[in-house]
Amino acid sequence: MVYLVMLFVAVPMWTGVIWVKILKIKGIWDQILHAWVFGFVTILAVAQLILVPLVALKQTLTMALLLFQILLTVLASVSFVLVLCRRGGVEKRMRQRRKPEGDRRWTLVFGVLAGILIFIQAYIPARYEHSDDDDARFVAEEVSAVVHDTMYQDSPIGAEFLYWNTGEVRKDLTSPWAMYIAMSCRISGIPPAVLSHSYLPFFLILLCYAVYMLIGKCLFREDAEKTALFLIFLSVIHLWGYTSTHTLAAMLLLRIWQGKAVCAGFMLPVFFYVFYQVMKREYKAGFVIFLYVAAMASCLLSGIGIVTAPIILFLYGIVDYIYYRRWRKTLAVWMAALPCAVYLLYYLMG
């Protein structure tokens, strides 16, 4: 459990400190949420950067893990330096308008209710069993990688030599989420099925709600009471949103350990949040830079990440241009789709 907290909370947060410093995020809660979410996205992007070439070169999982750990160490060192370089003295804190006593009581009530609903959503998928047939591919690939120290080199069905360019497994070369999970299994020593089904849902659902909280804070301009109420409604929509197996609610609460579900429940909302920050007259350029990292990370998750990221960049880019007429900014947003284009081309030519 300690390893998992390190892997899915502490290391992402430490990595995300880089973004907190770049974006000059103020306020302790904002810093924590940004560090966790942006750090996790950065780690996914790093994994994508090293895994695709290593899978193509038929390298071992051990080699991938070694490179991954080296890069994470570099990022952690950069964070450390940034923290050390922090100017002395007390940082200016955002002065929030103190609400009257009665208002704060409601904020507390809504906050506690939202917390309980979110905890229930994270706990039940980890505590109870839901089986999904798609795991026959993803978890099987992870088991093979961990045991055989290979990456996508045996069939998820027959175990015979396959290599990535056969059948559906071909899609996984450009979206090696399963190998990221396999690396996490190696680090934690937990079997892939146990990690995916019993532990990942808890961490990933909390992470998704961290993004939703950021969205709420942004939409309601830091109003804590409205943000808490927003999270309550969001939780209720998700808890009763199983109208088909395809909805966001189904992806989030039934199979969040799969790359495509992480894309639907986490990555696309991250894009929404970043766009809400970018689509302003006065915006921080760091958010536009982060779009490049996010686009890279979305490729790791699933083929749908490679397709949806460019579309969403294109659409929000258009809206931003219509409102602000800054073609350089729009171009910079659209250019963030380049990593996706490269991976798509590689997939099509492979």
Binding site: I124, H130, V139, G158, A159, G216, L219, L248, I311
Partner: protein
Amino acid sequence: MRDYIFAVWDEFVNFIGGRTGILHWVIFLLALMACMFIGRGMRRRLFWPSVLVLVFFFNPLFFGMVGTRFLSGVYWRLLWMLPVSFVIAYALTQLACRMKRGILRAVGIVLFCAGIAVTGKPVFSGETYREKENAYELPQAAIEISDVVMARLQDWKETIIVPHELICDIRQYSCSIGLLYGRNVGGFISDIEEDETRVYEEMGKERPDVALITDIAKARNCRYIVFNTSFHQIPEDLSEYGYERVAEAGESYVIYCKIPG
């Protein structure tokens, strides 16, 4: 073009879950309209991007060019780009916050939540979740079968045939066990061969043709066959077919192994 329009509509209905999901979508569309009038900021952040995603999704030309080529069968996934739950939650929050603080607001919030619950379907139910049998969250029988086979490994892996309900589980536990057929029976992962399809069809019958299954199993070097005795009606002794009973797993699974020689 007409075919594309119908195909896109089918994808949409598939995504929302037909009539089950229609009310949540009505709420979403109403909330989206509300975002249009709430203010410039929400028009920019929630309304126009959602409208553009819908225009993209329902565009038959886009479906023809991109959907049929790259997103065959999963075109509905593009609707994940639509912030459905965020738009509904935003509109409801704004509505609730316009009510006077106190009991009225609390009642309003409860009613909104009840409205969402009544018009939707719960994710957490006996249909979706059950008590876990082990930490792997896999059927215990799959683990017991795998343990039996792994304890008797003669090579780096064994190929086995299992009843339909276990084909997705075995390889999630052990990579030392290969399946003669697995999820490829549903058209996923890789192609299925003719003899594999024949075995699959027989294993789906209450009275399978044991001779056919064992003949193909022997030809494909498949040393283990697992039957579910609560479903399959087969002779207990399969030695005349070249297989012997070696172990039982779970409440009803029997593992047969090829007789050497």
